[in-house]
């Protein structure tokens, strides 16, 4: 049941497996962790303020149950986020851009450069503090075929941006 087709030797095609995918900047892990922490800080502060303000016996008595469950979920979430971070990889080849992500469900998306409509580099406030940028590649397809590579070093984002822009406009 293996796939084959006569005139082109599958073996000689450029292979996904032969392409070495690069990890995004390690600094981006800080951004992810901070973003995750912000959510939990908000949750915890809500919980604690409820304990301080409310006179409800139930909240006073059972305070530690939600506290520890949120703490547990937070730790699990951070572990997953850190593990998943090492799956965020990318590569720019002559004719396409590859981006891979996801721990539980891993996906490797490739967009041919000839199909890119436009490209933009954006930088959030937090990412700027670490000198990082996000590269967004837009295709004509549905949103599912757009690529967004987060956490690239600014210099590299600019280089890739220039390289792809040159190719897109050159056509």
């Amino acid at each position: 049941m293996d796939f084959s087709n006569a005139p082109i030797e599958i073996e000689n095609l450029p292979k996904l497996d032969d392409t070495e995918l690069k990890l995004i900047s390690r600094k981006y892990l800080n951004v992810i962790v901070i973003n995750t922490l912000i959510v939990y800080v908000v949750l915890f502060s809500l919980l604690i303020s409820a304990k301080l303000i409310s006179d409800d016996v139930a909240i006073q008595q059972y305070f530690w149950y939600p506290f520890f469950s949120i703490l547990g979920i937070m730790l699990l979430n951070i572990v997953l986020v850190v593990l998943a971070f090492h799956k965020r990889k990318y590569a720019v080849r002559d004719h396409d851009v590859i981006y891979s992500k996801g721990l539980l469900v891993n996906s490797v998306t490739t967009v041919p450069i000839s199909r890119i409509q436009h490209i933009e580099a954006s930088r959030s406030w937090l990412a700027r503090q670490f000198g990082l940028a996000t590269l967004n590649l837009f295709t004509a397809g549905e949103s599912g075929s757009d690529l967004s590579i987060k956490g690239l070093p600014e210099v590299e984002a600019k280089q890739i941006n220039d390289f792809i822009s040159g190719k897109v406009n050159g056509n």
Partner: protein, 499 residues
Amino acid sequence: METNEFSEPIRQSSKGIIIIFGVNCFQFVKRFFVLFIAFGVSLFRKSSFANLSPTILVLILIGIVLLVFVYAVLKYLNFKFHLVGEDFHLSTGILNKDNTIIPKSKIQNVYIKQNFLQQIINVVSLKIETAGDNKSEIEINALDKPKALRLKKLLFSKRTTDGVGSEVNDEEVDDVFFRASVKRLLLEGISQNHIKSFAIIASFVFGLYYEFEDFLVEFGIGEQIENAVSINEESVSTIMISIIFITIFVLLISMVFSVVRTFIVNFNLEVVEHQKTVEINKGLFNKISLSLTPSRIQNLVIKTNRLKKYLGLYTLSVKQAMTDKKQQKNFVIVALEREQLNYLVNRFLSDYSLIKDKYKPENYYLRILALDMFILTFILHIPAVLVFGYNFWILTLVMLPFMAIYIFMVYRKAYYSVSDNAVTIGSGFIDTTTNILEIHKIQAVKLKQSIFQKRRRIASVVISTASKSVTISYVKEGTAKNIYDYLLFLVESQDRDWM
């Protein structure tokens, strides 16, 4: 380009006032529908509304109608369009003047439509769709049909420098390729998936019920229904009989609904072949005419089911790039015969060869299907336990064969095939669906794999075009990677435009 009847700014046909007026009145009534009902009910009850006498109310109504009419006239007077060289100009707006200029090259599609009112006064509306977001479309409400056709032709005609080829008249090679007969449309309606029709009716009835809940309560209809239901609650056999009766009734209604809907939407369905494009004409109350350009077609979806296959009925949906969702559903040709279908597919996709090698997904797919069904059954059991108590196993008994048939059918119909110019993917449960896309239309390719699949070395390939994504599900990891590399190689090496 030499001067033509559109080179000076002109208004649409003066009948346009009636159309604008009609459309605005309709929108007005639709928006305040609930208010009107409330109005009627309280008039009926107290012969007054918010302390206003009926005479004043009628006067207010006449005033509103007059206002809408004046608005329509002004809108008509301020709506002018013309063609200058390669650009289409349109100026609109009563107070805020808008001037829109569209280069011909940016025009994606031109539709000619005719709603019920337009049919009565014998005009058509012309809709121009451009690439870009959904809002950027233009509609000219009232044009004489010949004029609309001439404008459409001018909008589509490209400036030709050599001048020789441009005179080939598209109209001359007109050939009505397919015309759906009344009999075939009826068959098409009957053999449809009635569950879908039922869902539409049910949602409509529920929507209506919630909208008018208060009024129904006021009239005591609710109580009457409840009384009627409580009588039937006397014995189990009456329940069974009434359930069977209701099921048959609902089925019948759904069937009639399907037939009527198919008939209204596809009345006089015609497929006309031009030299470069294929035109679809259809509709009873809303007549529409659409042109399909093969180069813009991204995906083809063929649908049939067991019954339809037997009757020789195939449905072809054409997915074009950048058409809005509402228009998308009009690009459907129903009741095609097998040969006609094959001919059209070949017309739309240059040298699409019939698939020789069909490959099946791995057995892992069966496991996924079974898991899906298991979760569904589990969720369904929660209300069942609440309603039937210990007798919930009745549901299990009903669900088991359904689950088995579902898993069996879905797996049996799933296949994929990759040739050097097209990808074909089959799927479906009751329907048999075939998705076809040309490889040079691919926008992105994605390899998907969960950690469970990684252990078993199984993966899926998601292929996106400009109009939709299709998935080759659960094949061996090596095969998936081969397909992935192969598709990318073809897209990148051919350097063909996707549009």
